[in-house]
């Protein structure tokens, strides 16, 4: 079992004719993902990697019976691409694009209230179910099949920690990068809930970072609702207040909310061990299994 994606996921790639879209569609196919269509306005009728391209997401989804899309379009067009995907008959939309304006995300967030579609991202590496399918840019070779559910706000930090797990022979049920922006479609709690209901997930690793209060809210959720043990990691202990640390969402406010300390305390209070280093995270997971 796994969460969100598996062998039955049929994927549309939005922006499949662009540099990034083409490259990563190829990587996804190579990994074994069922990429069934591309969607690029004005490019309908072409083929990329032997996959048919349609002019609209709606056409692609209906013609190929797709249920998910991955978005690789430049920031100036990403908002429209996300709305288009949310208005099409899909269950899952993954927005890889970094740099979607915050006010656009507020409008998208409002749209999500009236649809059952999951939006992952934006500004995220995507998600993977090892051995079955990957939707996004995660390097497939560092993942392995197993029983640890992984969720993270950061891309390369995911690779680092997953690599530490895989090196020790600890595989993953799925891994989800939810993205580093202040407003995102799917948050920690949404993913934790899915792992809690997945019988094959025996432990969860959750990598958070400074900014906002999602980790604190997730900690409260873990304390109140979860049986599956969780190990945590929080990046940004040394970040100064008021400075955006790369991710738009990674900022400690002047009044001191969003600090690593407050997140680590909240997680500890919920019974979550938080590693000081990525290696220590792997130690804790090893102890649990």
């Amino acid at each position: 079992m796994s969460i969100l994606v598996d062998n039955d996921t049929r994927v549309v790639v939005q922006g499949i004719t662009g540099g990034e879209g083409k490259f990563h569609a190829g990587q996804m196919i190579e990994y074994g993902t069922n990429v069934v269509a591309g969607a690029v306005p004005g490019r309908g009728g072409q083929e990329i990697h032997d996959v048919p391209v349609y002019d609209t997401v709606d056409q692609a989804a209906r013609a190929e019976d797709a249920n998910a899309s991955v978005i690789f379009v430049p920031p100036a067009f990403a908002t429209d691409a996300i709305f288009e995907a949310l208005d099409s008959p899909l269950d899952l939309v993954v927005a890889i694009t970094e740099g979607v304006p915050q006010q656009d995300m507020a409008k998208i967030y409002r749209k999500l209230e009236e649809t059952d579609t999951h939006l992952i991202g934006p500004n995220c590496p995507g998600l993977i179910t090892p051995g079955a399918a990957k939707l996004g840019i995660l390097p497939g070779n560092i993942f392995s099949e197993g029983n640890v559910g992984f969720v993270s706000r950061s891309g390369t930090l995911t690779y680092q920690v997953v690599d530490n797990l895989t090196q020790r022979g600890i595989g993953q049920t799925s891994a989800v990068g939810i993205g580093g922006d202040p407003i995102i479609g799917t948050d920690f709690i949404d993913v934790l809930e899915l792992y809690e209901d997945d019988p094959d997930t025996d432990a969860i690793v959750m990598c958070g970072e400074i900014g906002g209060e999602d980790e604190e809210e997730a900690a409260a959720y873990i304390g109140d609702h979860m049986e599956t043990p969780v190990v945590g990691f929080i990046a940004g202990r040394t970040a100064p207040p008021g400075k955006r640390m790369g991710h738009a969402g990674a900022i400690v406010s002047g009044s001191g909310t969003g600090t690593a300390e407050s997140k680590i305390d909240a997680l500890n209070d919920a019974g979550v061990s938080v590693g000081d280093t990525p290696n220590e995270v792997a130690d804790y997971v090893e102890d649990l299994l």
Binding site: S154, T238, R244, G254
Partner: protein
């Protein structure tokens, strides 16, 4: 991107929000001339982006030309919480009876903008928020409709603003929201919004943060970016297009991806060192970009060693190695020791290319950080 006060007030004035008369000056003579023209009393205000400028001596109220000269002389060139003051805003002083607070920001947890009003302006609003949260009235906004005028009225009346000025304050709040939406702001704050003797309201200070991700559709604001940068290195980082934050330590840090770079900073601290900077080269960086990153970090005189930590996804190890070689080849002597750790996509190809006469290679993140920290400690002795 945070605008300077003078930039934000320019944007306010263009939007029809009342602000005091003011002139920007970069010399003492210019400041005195501006003060004479505006008419005394005037406030002389340092244009640096730190909170609590007044308490730190960066704002002075003066009554005549002699005082203006003395104040401008003191403030221009001063070091205010680590930032050099090279410009002052000379501004008409406002006689006021009340100081209010109005602002618009994004409520991340709700995914919605929120408009805020309080009668407790003129003080640190974050302290008010922490101690007396009820003293700030919050009104969430549906981004599809914007702030309805009735919502602005509801907020000001609920905050207890005098009926004489409430309608004016509400209309300023509506204007602020419109400005927030039109200009892709992430935060707008007027603290204080002064109520004058004759019952007018006027924005005596202006804070405006713009979403860096929206600058592609805000060309006028994008032009202000260079002037808004706080120090030379941060301006250079803007030019190169890096996410860069300067810190006070001596171990320079370069990596790919915000979370991993932050983690590298944290590990430098964990192993007893002190990070000099945050520098994220982003995804898919080519050799030239890697070389620029090294150039950036080398040009920070506080840096004693550099740790280069790459976990390739879209970034390829061979490109990184090529960039490191290119950057270091131009030196007869490497200015500061560089420790490299490559993992992920094409890491082994990268290791084959990397000129190990010029850098120290470590296999794991932990080892690379410890090595760089020990180099920095040696350099300090």
């Amino acid at each position: 991107m945070k605008l300077h006060e003078y930039q934000a007030k320019g944007v306010f004035a263009d939007a029809g929000i009342p602000v005091p008369d003011s002139t920007l000056a970069s010399t003492v003579d210019e400041a005195v001339e501006a003060a004479d023209e505006i008419g005394y009393p005037v406030a002389i205000k340092a244009q640096v982006q730190v909170g609590g400028r007044g308490k730190a001596g960066g704002i002075e109220l003066v009554d005549d030309a002699a005082e203006a000269r003395q104040a401008a002389d003191e403030i221009l060139g001063m070091d205010l919480k680590g930032l050099h003051v090279d410009r002052v805003l000379v501004e008409a002083a406002v006689d006021f009876t009340d100081e209010l607070y109005v602002g618009v920001t994004m409520d991340r947890a709700e995914g919605k903008p929120v408009a805020m009003v309080s009668t407790r302006g003129g003080v640190n609003i974050e302290e008010v928020a922490a101690e007396e949260p009820d003293a700030i009235v919050r009104e969430h906004v549906d981004p599809a409709f914007g702030l309805h005028p009735y919502q602005a009225r509801k907020a000001v009346f609920e905050a207890g603003i005098d009926r004489d000025v409430a309608i004016d304050a509400a209309s300023i709040l509506t204007q602020l929201y419109d400005l927030w939406a039109e200009r892709d702001a992430t935060e707008i704050e007027v603290n204080p919004l002064m109520v004058t003797d004759d019952g007018e309201v006027i924005a005596a200070d202006a804070v405006m943060n713009i979403d860096g991700d929206a600058l592609f559709r805000q060309p006028e604001l994008a032009e202000m970016e260079e002037e808004a940068a706080e120090d030379e290195l941060e301006a250079k980082a803007n030019e190169y297009g890096f996410d860069y934050v300067r810190l006070s330590g001596n171990t320079g840090i370069i990596g790919n991806g915000a979370g991993l770079v932050m983690t590298t900073l944290d590990l430098v601290d964990y192993y007893g060192g002190s990070p000099a900077n945050f520098l994220d080269i982003g995804g898919g960086a080519k050799a030239e970009r890697v070389a620029n990153a090294l150039d950036m970090v080398f040009s920070d005189e506080n840096v004693d060693s550099v740790v280069f930590n790459i976990f390739g996804g879209i970034t390829r190890g061979d490109e990184v190695a090529k960039g490191i070689n290119e950057a270091l080849d131009q030196f007869d002597e490497i200015p500061k020791p560089v420790v490299v750790r490559l993992a992920g996509t094409n890491a082994s190809e990268g290791m084959d290319i990397l000129n190990t006469d010029l850098v120290t290679v470590e296999k794991t993140l932990e080892e690379a950080v410890q090595r760089a920290v020990s180099y920095a400690a040696e350099a300090e002795q």
